[in-house]
Amino acid sequence: VIVELVLNGRRAELESRAGEALLDALRREPGLLSVRPTCGIGVCGACTVLLDGEPVSACLMLTAQAAGREVTTVEGLPPDDPVPREFGEARAFQCGYCTPGMILTASSLLRERPSPSDEQVAEALGGNLCRCGCYPRIAEAVRRAASA
């Protein structure tokens, strides 16, 4: 099936097999490899994309469910979004596998709450796992982005 949607700010047609997860469709044809497969059951957050600005697990969504909606991956964040920059500044990663999902979740949080408490940051990022254990630096990056 062909699914029409807005992908990273542009109208796009996504070719997808029936019953295929958005995760797989995004990785195959547009080649958005920042959307990362891991658990396949919506637990780890590595495949997080923004659906109309809200973080969702792309592994749990059918491509067809994204029809007519706005999907944002880390490539589609505005250039002036402070979150990616502050992740770099705070060195908030080791391997970087979880980073795109972390950035999207954090960016969505800061749009909703420009000055979140540490507790709210931890709560918001609770569904994004980091196997390297970089959580303190990730929290630091979000704090910096909030005050940027």
């Binding site: 637990v43 940051v121 931890a122 609770g126 796992l129 303190p136 929290a139």
Partner: protein
């Protein structure tokens, strides 16, 4: 971090099959599992080689947490020091404490 090794992670089997093969059943630390405050010290030593360090390769962390529990008379010798094992150690501590209390009365 080392917290996962210390507190949460264990591959479980039943009839030769792994029963916690995905992250829904095999817990790894998330943001809410972290202590509020975290301090560490890097010690320099002549001739020491640097090597990578990640969640699974941080031996001092389980030892530090084990010693903290031991300071409360909770003696755990198996990893992970899961909530169930800590509870069992607390029960064992109670059982050992009761005869002493009776002896005192």
């Amino acid at each position: 971090m080392g917290l996962g090794t210390a507190l949460l992670e264990e591959v479980e089997y039943a009839d030769g099959q792994v029963t916690n093969a995905n992250l829904s059943d095999y817990g790894v630390p998330a943001t809410r599992d972290l202590p509020r405050r975290l301090t560490h010290e890097l010690i320099e030593r002549d001739g020491a080689e640097s090597h990578g360090l990640g969640e699974t390769a941080l031996p001092p962390v389980p030892a530090a947490i084990g010693n903290a529990l031991y300071s409360l008379c909770l003696h755990l010798t198996d990893l992970p020091m899961s909530a169930e094992r800590v509870l069992a150690a607390a029960d064992a501590r109670e059982r050992e404490a009761v005869p002493q209390a009776e002896a005192a009365s």
